[in-house]
């Protein structure tokens, strides 16, 4: 192996109390395609961002081309020859291809552009052979072409290490093939490509070496020739996490009323003919990888995004859907991003909790502050929210306590159908346990619960039944009491279960 381009040793990274990278030691060689794989939340994207300078690291050393880096930022990374290409591309859509490629490194004389862009672009294009028109406006390009612009931009800056974060997630199979040819060409040019993805086929096809990650640690690094799809999945799985889940209430009887029924739901956000049922007292999980359409399904049912198809709540047709009507019909939706979609961080706990159900604490539009305070205090006690002030500044609360405030906001109204999108993401272990108990409490109280979690272990352990989702469709149904994480992954990756997987 030639010398290492990037070497990490003992890298640690935490967000609040959640440790996302734990003692990572790893080397990326010059002229190799190195894939980073792992389950959702294993830390592969975060590791890419540390190398690219987008995340700082708390401990450890990062060595780039033989030099230890001190202050590390995207700019510092770029000057050291490392460029990152993001999931959400970072181009200026209104500018042309050539303008984007040379953005920030335009040739100028005393600030006046010399107009040499066309010639420079032609020279660059000869090397890359993408055949992009320099004058095309980026907004008019397809995503695959935009990625090429990003790659040219990286090469124009003479990047010797290029990190790609899930580059194929929005590409067609054909476009992905083309990208892989480009990746191999980059390698043949002597550049290093760090390829973060959860598409195992792509890894097996394109990478030279692969690093499997789990729970913020490196499981193993090795040449791709030694791996198969099954061996990678097994490495990603590892031992079950050391978390006890609360016992589920008994599954509802077959004649228990169906509180939520969805049939043929399709949407512009990518859902296609989704049908499912949830009974009173039942917890149903949506099992799928990031991008499989789980959150989109939740939003469509709740009326946050427009969709076609039928929804019935408690047996009654619910065709004109909007968040307001959903609240009135007893639906609750805890969205995945509590800071952006869930809480109003400018306000205190009390107005946050009462917002969806103001009619419960008012008469003829006039608030009854005493009722409101009493209910808020009850919720704080019920969820053991700390600090316990009724008008506490929720912006300064820990992730777990913010999440409890968000859950309280919906319990307030005694919902019949509860949709929980990533209810325990980024919270500490204590809050996580409380949230799990809460999910079970909801079902025991007769509510229908639809649970979404990227952590397969969690969603399977907490559900009676699960629907497997991929590409905006439901590809199968499973009894979660017998389903294993391993089975689920095999079904989601669409491979036959082979060898001694038992």
């Amino acid at each position: 192996m030639p010398e290492d381009a990037v070497r990490l040793s003992g890298i640690e990274k935490s967000f609040g109390s959640a440790r996302i990278l734990n003692g990572i030691s790893l080397a990326f060689a010059t002229g190799e395609v190195h894939a980073l794989i792992g389950e959702n939340g294993a830390g592969k994207s975060s590791l890419g961002k540390v190398v690219g300078g987008y995340y700082s690291f708390d401990a450890g050393t990062l060595t780039v081309f033989g030099r230890d880096v001190g202050h590390w930022s995207p700019r510092a990374a770029l000057t050291s020859g490392i460029a990152m290409i993001h999931q959400e591309l970072q181009l200026v859509p209104e500018l042309t291809v050539a303008e984007n490629v040379f953005l920030g490194i335009e040739e100028n004389r005393a600030g006046v552009l010399t107009g040499s862009e066309q010639a420079r672009f032609r020279a660059l294009d000869e090397r890359c052979g993408f055949g992009l028109s320099p004058n095309a406006v980026v907004a008019d390009l397809r995503i695959a072409e935009r990625q090429k612009v990003e790659i040219m931009r990286a090469i124009a800056r003479d990047a010797r290490v290029i990190i790609m974060d899930e580059p194929t997630s929005s590409l067609t199979a054909d476009e992905a093939d083309k990208l892989h040819r480009v990746i191999r060409w980059l390698r043949d040019e002597g550049r290093t490509v760090i390829y973060v993805t959860h598409f195992l086929d792509h890894v097996l096809e394109t990478a030279d070496r692969v690093t499997v990650m789990r729970d913020g640690r490196v499981v193993r690094t090795g040449p791709i020739a030694a791996e198969t799809k099954a061996s990678l999945i097994e490495a990603m799985l590892g031992e079950p996490a050391d978390v006890a889940f609360p016992p589920l209430p008994p599954a509802p009887a077959a004649d228990a009323p169906v509180l939520l029924e969805v049939a043929g739901l399709s949407s512009a956000t990518g859902l296609s003919e989704v049908s499912l049922q949830v009974r009173a007292g039942e917890i149903v999980g949506l099992v799928g990888l990031v991008g499989s359409g789980r959150s989109e399904l939740a939003r469509a049912i709740f009326g946050a995004d427009p969709s076609t198809g039928t929804v019935r709540v408690g047996g009654a047709a619910y065709d004109e859907r909007s968040p307001r009507l959903s609240v009135q019909r007893g639906l609750a939706f805890v969205p995945e991003d509590r800071r952006k979609q869930g809480l109003d961080l400018v306000q205190t706990v009390r107005p946050n909790m009462s917002l969806p159900h103001l009619s419960l604490v008012s008469r003829l539009g006039v608030l009854k502050p005493r009722d409101e305070r009493r209910r808020t205090a009850q919720m704080i006690e019920h969820f053991n929210i700390v600090p316990g002030q009724i008008d506490g500044e929720v912006a300064f609360y820990s992730g777990g306590n913010q999440q409890k405030v968000l859950l309280s906001k919906w319990v307030y109204g005694n919902p019949k159908v509860v949709i929980l999108d990533e209810p325990s993401r980024g919270v500490d272990i204590g809050a996580r346990r409380r949230i799990h108990n809460f999910v079970v409490e909801l079902a025991r109280g007769g509510a229908a619960v639809l649970l979404i979690s990227s952590e397969l272990e969690e969603v399977i352990s907490l559900s009676h039944r699960g629907y497997l989702m991929r590409d905006g469709r439901i590809i199968g149904e499973a009894d979660c009491r017998t389903l294993t994480v391993e089975d689920a992954l095999f079904r989601l990756f669409n491979v036959e279960k082979q060898m001694g997987a038992a």
């Binding site: 979609q341 917002l355 300064f396 906001k409």
Partner: protein, 326 residues
């Protein structure tokens, strides 16, 4: 990001006395400045601290204060209204024309209603076409000003009638009727903002619109209502002003929207939405009025008045930005 959150948390846990004093100054700074200014003016002039002068100040500021109160709701809701001055103008000439040609009482009632309609139009443009309120009201203010000129044909409309002048000039005892109207309106706005479900929704729309939508708040209706209220307030202010000067002018209220915005921001309501109070805007109006009154009393070149006002706004905004950063 997590770094700033944790420092903020630890800062809250162990607030040193000095820090707390600074926080207090930032929160109630506007009141302290007003108190200092009043103390200074009292020392400099015998005629300042008299009931008559003080009532006079409030009376003269009543139209602006009425607009500022309602505008506070728009700004807390995350919006901006640049058309209040033009609405004021349309309401002035409509009221004057109706008073002269139809009935004085009808003119008085019509002013605020005309304003309400124009405000609702603003709200419908903003929500219907999804235009930023800044642009929408910038454009609508030009249209409204044009309507005001069309109504009068560019001329002035004199209204010398007892039945019309009482609103702007009348008194109950020694208190001006305009002051009473202002106080009633301000109390109504405070009640609306702090004690009703509507007020809660206004805060939620400005604080986190996405979260408000997902909580079932019809955010567009809330926005339309806040613009309607501001239109109503501008119309009411316009009628008071016409009634006071007995003259309907299409150019009435030019620049008034900026005074109102300055007062709201000076008071400390967040320009980013979600945070603020009516009393703050009233204090802002009062501060602007005191500066003006001080320059009159001291007989200083009025050129310095705008300069001073501007500087005070810069300092006030810088102070509140400092509060945000920490």
């Amino acid at each position: 990001m997590s770094g700033t959150t944790s420092t903020a948390r630890s800062a809250q846990a162990t607030v040193p006395a000095g820090r707390r004093a600074i926080a207090f100054l930032q929160r109630y700074g506007i009141l302290i400045i007003i108190a200092l200014l009043m103390a200074g003016l009292t020392m400099l002039s015998d005629s300042f601290l008299t009931p008559r002068n003080l009532l006079n100040i409030v009376n003269q500021s009543a139209p602006l204060a009425i607009i500022a109160c309602a505008l506070t709701l728009v700004i807390i809701g995350g919006g901006f209204d640049l058309s209040a001055g033009a609405v004021f103008g349309v309401a002035s000439v409509s009221a004057a024309w109706l008073a002269v040609n139809v009935d004085p009482m009808l003119g008085i009632v019509a002013g605020p209603l005309v304003g309400l309609v124009l405000g609702l139009v603003n709200g419908l443009i903003i929500t219907g076409f999804n235009v930023h309120s800044f642009l929408a009201t910038l454009a609508s203010s030009m249209v409204f000003r044009g309507i005001a000129i069309l109504i009068t044909g560019g001329a002035l409309i004199p209204v010398r009638m007892e039945e019309f002048a009482w609103l702007g000039r009348g008194r109950v005892g020694m208190v001006n009727i305009a002051v009473i109207v202002f106080v009633v309106f301000a109390l109504a706005m405070m009640f609306l903002l702090n004690r009703t479900t509507f007020g809660r929704r206004v805060f939620a729309v400005g604080g986190n619109e996405e979260a408000a939508i997902l909580s079932g708040v019809r955010t567009n209706l809330v926005k339309i209502a806040t613009f309607g209220l501001t239109g109503f307030a501008a119309g009411l202010a316009g009628v008071i002003a016409v009634s006071r000067i007995s003259m309907g002018q299409p150019q009435a209220g030019v620049g008034m929207e900026l005074d109102a915005i300055a007062a709201v921001i000076l008071g400390g309501t967040s320009i980013y939405g979600g945070k603020g109070a009516i009393w703050r805007s009233i204090a802002g109006v009062l501060l602007l009025a005191l500066i003006g009154n001080g320059f009159n009393i001291l007989n200083v070149n009025p050129f310095f008045k705008d300069l001073t006002t501007g500087l005070i706004i810069v300092v006030a905004v810088a102070l509140s930005a400092g509060r945000k950063r920490r």
